[in-house]
Every structure is written in structure tokens, then in C-alpha cells.
């Protein structure tokens, strides 16, 4: 097994020379500037820098790595299989298909999803899926940054296995600073309150994040209200589990008073506009209000089974479009979604990154200024082009922790290297379909 990006590979110097544009964050854009990387970190930004391997970036836009803050990588296998049905109906079909999945298929599908994400400029992702050890194996091999971990169920908790599961997973991530363990809980309606409390207890004990689908559909809020008398976020708060380590995915059906709770507890939200729209969940995620409240909101594609793309450039654009169409106003723009997909994503991961500055991790994406869809190009419209016109095909190279983990020139080789895998996966798809 080839393992990529382990600790100890640090120390190598790379200079990105004469970058045409460097989008340092959602506000600052610089021109014709160098970035010096040493080991896993950015050590300098300026003119006249040099050292180590020099990469000519005169024809590149450099931006910080993009974080897909909520996905299910292995669901890559279901892309294009279930394109109809509102969420709960869709979920029934998916759950049935999932019975056919083996650990090996999860490993293979996750790995291809990661290769695809890297090719789209995604440097990190937050994952929730069965057989997380298989996904972990693929993370180690591909060099991508990830937060993933066991999915706690009532069964696991009742059998007293949850702590063992979490500890064992943490153990497997040791030596990989780019991998974080999270405790996953699928949803309020799939587990008992004891399981949610147990998940929270473990995250506190081991200093981890908890990641959960919340207020995704009207049915969910209805069931929660009927069962508990409270809306989902209120209910989580009543269980005493809402805190700064909580990652709430979706939240299309959140109420204004629940936003206040999220703010007070400093929890994070991940908005998944394309998947929510495709599954016709029909909520109204109050993005402007959440950002104005100062809540950390990231952006995610959700799984390829419901998106079906794993391209965060598209997701940024869709996030703007959904808000503008829903609310008939234009106060969400390119800066907001760039910040969400990048800076806020790194805040969710609790990693010093998402901004191109000294001492931040060297997670970077290079886009090709020669691609026609990125032109006309100037300092004035570079951010606009990234959000409204770019797509994953514009990526020349993706760096994670100072290493080039994807380069456009490898595209064909990557495809040929996975031909057998694709065949194996297709056999599984044939059984499902």
C-alpha cells in the first residue's frame, strides 16, 4: 500500500514563482507574487522569493485549498442511480442499495471520490459513512486531508462498544496530522437520545468533533416536535450536547430562535445547497442571518448520490443562486461563499489554513489562467470568476500540506490506474441497479 503525506516528509522547500494572482482570502488579492513553502507550511509570501523546487506560476491563480465540509465519499458509487424521489423516499432506495456494499467497495469508491475531489481543488473533507476504516485507508493513500470516524448507532452504544470503536479509530489516525477523528451520528430520527449523549461524551473526552445531519426535512422537524415537543436544535440543546465541537449539516428547516442557540454555543453549520435542492427538501436555510450572527457556516456537496457532483466551485455558485432566488435579494455574493468554502471550512477542521499567510498549512489550489472560462481576467473579477464561472476542470494542481497531491498532467494516468477498480465497482452497481 502506498501511503502519502505521512509525518516526517516535511522539510522540502517549494517556491511558487510569480503567481499571476494570489487570492489570499475573500478580501485580499495580490498580483505577481511568490509563495514559499517549507515542509507542510507557507513560510513567506512576497516578491523575489526563491528556494527549493521552483514552480513557474505566471499562468496560475493560486487560492487556498477548498474544504468539502459535509460529504459521504463512498456514495460516489451511487452517482446517477437514484435521481428521483424526495429525501425520505430516496433514502429508502439508497439504504436498500447500501446492503450490497462490502468494506472493499467502500474503500474503492471512497478512494475514487477522493481522487475526484483532489482533481477539483478540494484539499479536505468531512465524511460520514459506514466502514470508516476503509475510507481512512483511502485517505492515507491519496494524501487528502480529512475528518472522519465511526458512525455511532444505538446498537453500538447498547453493546458498550462505542468508546472502543472511537479509541481504535483514533489509534489508526496516529502519525497523520492531516487526519482527524470525528464522531458521526446520522440523525436525530435514527438514534436514541442516549446515543447522542454518548457521542457527545466521547467527543469531550477525546477532544473530537461531532458531526450530524440536523433539520434537513420537514418530516424530521415534525417527528422531533411530536416526540420531544422541541425543534431539532432546541432538542440537542436540551440534551446538553450543543457546543463548539458540533458540526450541524444541512439545517434547511432551522428556526430563528435555534440560530441564536447555535450562536450561543458556538457550533458550526454546513450548508449543502445542491443536494438539498435535488432532494427537494424545500427548506429555507437563512444564510445571510447566520453569517450576520457570526455563526461559522461551511459548505458541502453532500454525497455524490444526491449532488451528484463533488465540485465545490459549483457548490459555491449554487449557494449564491439559491439564496438570491429564494430571498429575492443579492446580499449573498462571491465573497461570502468563498469564505464559507475555504476559510470557514478550515475553522470547522480547526486547522490554521484557508488563508494564504505565513505559518498556515500549505494547502493550495492552482487554476489555469489560460482556460477561457476564467477570462476576461483581472484583479477586479478574479474572485467573481472563481465563484461564478470556474469548475474543477480549471485546476492545474492541488497541494495538501506542501505536497502536490494532484496535477492535471496525471489525469490520464489516474484514469488508467483505476480501470480495474472501475470494473469491480461496476459489477457491484449492476447488482444494485
Amino acid at each position: 500500500m502506498e501511503v502519502c503525506g505521512e509525518e516526517g516528509m516535511a522539510g522540502r522547500e517549494i517556491t511558487l514563482k510569480n503567481c499571476r494572482y494570489v487570492v489570499r482570502d475573500h478580501k485580499v488579492i495580490e498580483e505577481n507574487i511568490d509563495i514559499l513553502i517549507e515542509g507542510r507550511y507557507i513560510v513567506d509570501i512576497g516578491r523575489g522569493l526563491g528556494g527549493g523546487d521552483e514552480i513557474d506560476c505566471r499562468e496560475a491563480i493560486v487560492l487556498p485549498g477548498i474544504v468539502n465540509a459535509h460529504t459521504h465519499a463512498a456514495m460516489w458509487i451511487f452517482r446517477g442511480l437514484f435521481d428521483r424521489g424526495e429525501l425520505h423516499e430516496w433514502l429508502k432506495n439508497v439504504n436498500k442499495a447500501e446492503e450490497k456494499l462490502t468494506p472493499r467497495i467502500v474503500y474503492l469508491a471512497s478512494k475514487i471520490a477522493m481522487l475526484e475531489m483532489l482533481s477539483n481543488g478540494i484539499t479536505a473533507f468531512v465524511d460520514m459513512y459506514y466502514f470508516p476504516e476503509e475510507t481512512l485507508k483511502a485517505v492515507k493513500e491519496t494524501g487528502i486531508r480529512a475528518a472522519l470516524g465511526p458512525v455511532l448507532t444505538d446498537e453500538v452504544v447498547e453493546e458498550g462498544e462505542s468508546e472502543k470503536l472511537v479509541k481504535s479509530f483514533i489509534e489508526k489516525t496516529k502519525g497523520f496530522s492531516r487526519i482527524k477523528t470525528v464522531v458521526n451520528v446520522r440523525s436525530l430520527y435514527s438514534v436514541s437520545p442516549e446515543t447522542i449523549r454518548e457521542a457527545s461524551k466521547l467527543t469531550q473526552k477525546y477532544d473530537l468533533d461531532i458531526h450530524m445531519h440536523v433539520s434537513e426535512t420537514r418530516r424530521e422537524i415534525y417527528l422531533c416536535k411530536k416526540r420531544t415537543g422541541l425543534f431539532p436544535v432546541e432538542y440537542l440543546n436540551s440534551l446538553g450536547v450543543l457546543n463548539k465541537r458540533f458540526i450541524l449539516a444541512h439545517l434547511g428547516w432551522v428556526t430563528s430562535w435555534e440560530l441564536s442557540l447555535i450562536k450561543d454555543k458556538n457550533a458550526s453549520i454546513v450548508h449543502c445547497p445542491a443536494s438539498d435542492m435535488k432532494l427537494a427538501t424545500a427548506g429555507f436555510f437563512p444564510l445571510r442571518e447566520s453569517l450576520d450572527f457570526g455563526i461559522n457556516v461551511g459548505l458541502g456537496t453532500d454525497g455524490a448520490a444526491s449532488n451528484n457532483s463533488l465540485d465545490m466551485f459549483r457548490e459555491m455558485k449554487v449557494a449564491v443562486l439559491l439564496q438570491r432566488n429564494n430571498y429575492w435579494r443579492t446580499d449573498i455574493g462571491e465573497r461570502d461563499v468563498f469564505r464559507m468554502a475555504i476559510e470557514n471550512g478550515y475553522r470547522i477542521l480547526n486547522i490554521k489554513g484557508g488563508v494564504i499567510e505565513k505559518n498556515n498549512v500549505a494547502d493550495l489550489v492552482l487554476l489555469d489562467v489560460k482556460d477561457l472560462n476564467l477570462n476576461p481576467l483581472s484583479r477586479r473579477n478574479v474572485l467573481s470568476n472563481i465563484v461564478y464561472s470556474a469548475n474543477g476542470n480549471n485546476v492545474i494542481a492541488t497541494f495538501v500540506g506542501g505536497e502536490i497531491v494532484y496535477h492535471r498532467e496525471q489525469k490520464e494516468a489516474i484514469y488508467h490506474s483505476i480501470t480495474d477498480t472501475l470494473e469491480e465497482i461496476q459489477e457491484c452497481i449492476n447488482e444494485i441497479a
Binding site: T255, S256, E289, N326, W328
Partner: protein, 237 residues
């Protein structure tokens, strides 16, 4: 080939209709979206303290229904917090049985209490819910109403900062600009989502006849005023 219901005429829906500007605007939106608006559903609270429904001049909605040429399900409710939700559910069940509706259109602007309660009820009845005005920019919305030909009067005032001379007369653009200025100064919602004032639409693009109102303002509290409708009738436009 089997043609699904609603394929040509759009989704059959009812509009939760109070006769005020928001539900009337939502009704127009539904038409513009191609929905098949089969009926209006109006609940008249018996008390002023309703959490869900518009109180003043609700009886006049019967004339608005006639002006629109859309049938109405009209029910009284006690205006007591949980009881009125039950009444709403029953009214929607009637709309579903009588008119085959599959969805509900509401004029909810900013009240999550209203929006979420309607969502919970419609989930139980397997009806879709549409709230086209939800969280829309409200200064602009008020101006658009006037610009698009919605003629409405204020029928109650419950906030400091709105003078009683606004009662009972059709609001013009300058009135809306003034209201927005007062809203900023005194910190109330410019579209009255917090119940700062209630409105009654007397004419709108889809009205076949215009509503005429005769009434008088009465003071019911230090900053509380009502416009009591004495007589209402429809006139050819």
C-alpha cells in the same frame, strides 16, 4: 398515457387568506407560478390575541373571495394558542377533501412561529407548503406592492410611531416611504410582521371588482387604534 393531476393546471393549492397585503400578494405569486388556486382558507379569531391569524376586518374576506372569484373556506377560531392550530388543521382537511388541494400557500414573512406551525400541520396532512415572502427584504416589498397595483388600507395600529391618520385610506408610495422611515426610527418591522399594524386589500390585479369600505377610526389604547368597518361592498372596476 396517464396524465397526472395538476399537470396542465399546476399544483392544486389553497391560500391561507386573511385579506391583508401578505396573503393577497402570496395568492398572486401562486397564480404567477402556475399553481391552480382552488380555494382560500380563512380563519377568523374570536379574540384579538391570536398567535396565528389576522384579527381585524376578517369578515370582509368573504367579499374579497367574491371579487377574486375563488371559493372560500371560512371558519371561526377561539384564537387560543393550541386550539387555533387544531382549527387550522381541520380547515385544511376540509380544503383537501372538498377541493383536492395538494399544497398550501402562505403569506408568512418573518414569523417562524407561524411558518413552522403551518409546516408541522401540512406535514401531517401530506401537503406541500409554499411561503413566497419568507424573509424577503421588507422595505422594498412594501414599495413593490404599491407599484404593482395592490391597494390596501391599514385597519389597526398597535405600535408607537404610526399615526392614526394612516388608518382607513389607501396607502400611496409616499406613505410607504414614511412608514419605512418611522420603522427605522422606532425599531418596528416596516411590513408589520410583528403585528404592528394590520392591513386590508381593497383592490389588486386579480380582483375582478374593487372593495369599497366605510368605517371610522377608534382609539383602543395609548398607541392602539382600530379602523372599524361600518359598511363594505364591491364595485365594478
Amino acid at each position: 398515457m396517464v396524465i397526472k393531476e395538476g399537470f396542465f393546471k399546476g399544483l392544486p393549492v389553497c391560500v391561507l387568506f386573511s385579506g391583508g397585503k401578505d396573503s393577497t400578494y402570496a395568492l398572486h405569486w401562486a397564480f404567477l407560478k402556475g399553481f391552480d388556486v382552488r380555494c382560500l382558507v380563512t380563519l377568523k379569531p374570536r379574540s384579538e390575541g391570536s398567535w396565528m391569524f389576522h384579527y381585524p376586518a376578517v369578515e370582509v374576506t368573504k367579499l374579497q373571495s367574491e371579487a377574486l372569484g375563488i371559493p372560500q373556506i371560512y371558519r371561526e377560531t377561539l384564537g387560543i394558542k393550541n386550539r387555533e392550530l387544531k382549527d387550522l388543521k381541520e380547515a385544511l382537511e376540509t380544503a383537501s377533501a372538498k377541493y383536492g388541494i395538494k399544497g398550501v400557500v402562505t403569506g408568512a414573512l418573518l414569523s417562524d412561529y407561524q411558518r413552522m406551525n403551518i409546516s408541522l400541520i401540512t406535514e401531517e396532512l401530506s401537503l406541500k407548503v409554499y411561503s413566497p415572502l419568507w424573509r424577503k427584504g421588507q422595505d422594498k416589498y412594501m414599495l413593490e406592492l404599491v407599484e404593482y397595483g395592490f391597494k390596501f388600507i391599514i385597519t389597526s395600529i398597535s405600535v408607537y410611531g404610526l399615526p392614526p391618520n394612516l388608518l382607513g385610506r389607501i396607502l400611496k408610495e409616499e406613505d410607504v416611504v414614511y412608514i419605512a422611515r418611522m420603522a427605522r426610527r422606532y425599531g418596528f418591522n416596516p411590513a408589520f410582521e410583528g403585528g404592528e399594524a394590520e392591513t386590508l386589500v381593497v383592490d389588486a390585479p386579480l380582483f375582478r371588482k374593487a372593495l369599497r369600505i366605510v368605517g371610522e377610526p377608534i382609539q383602543v389604547g395609548e398607541y392602539n387604534w382600530r379602523y372599524v368597518v361600518k359598511r363594505a361592498w364591491l364595485e365594478e372596476k
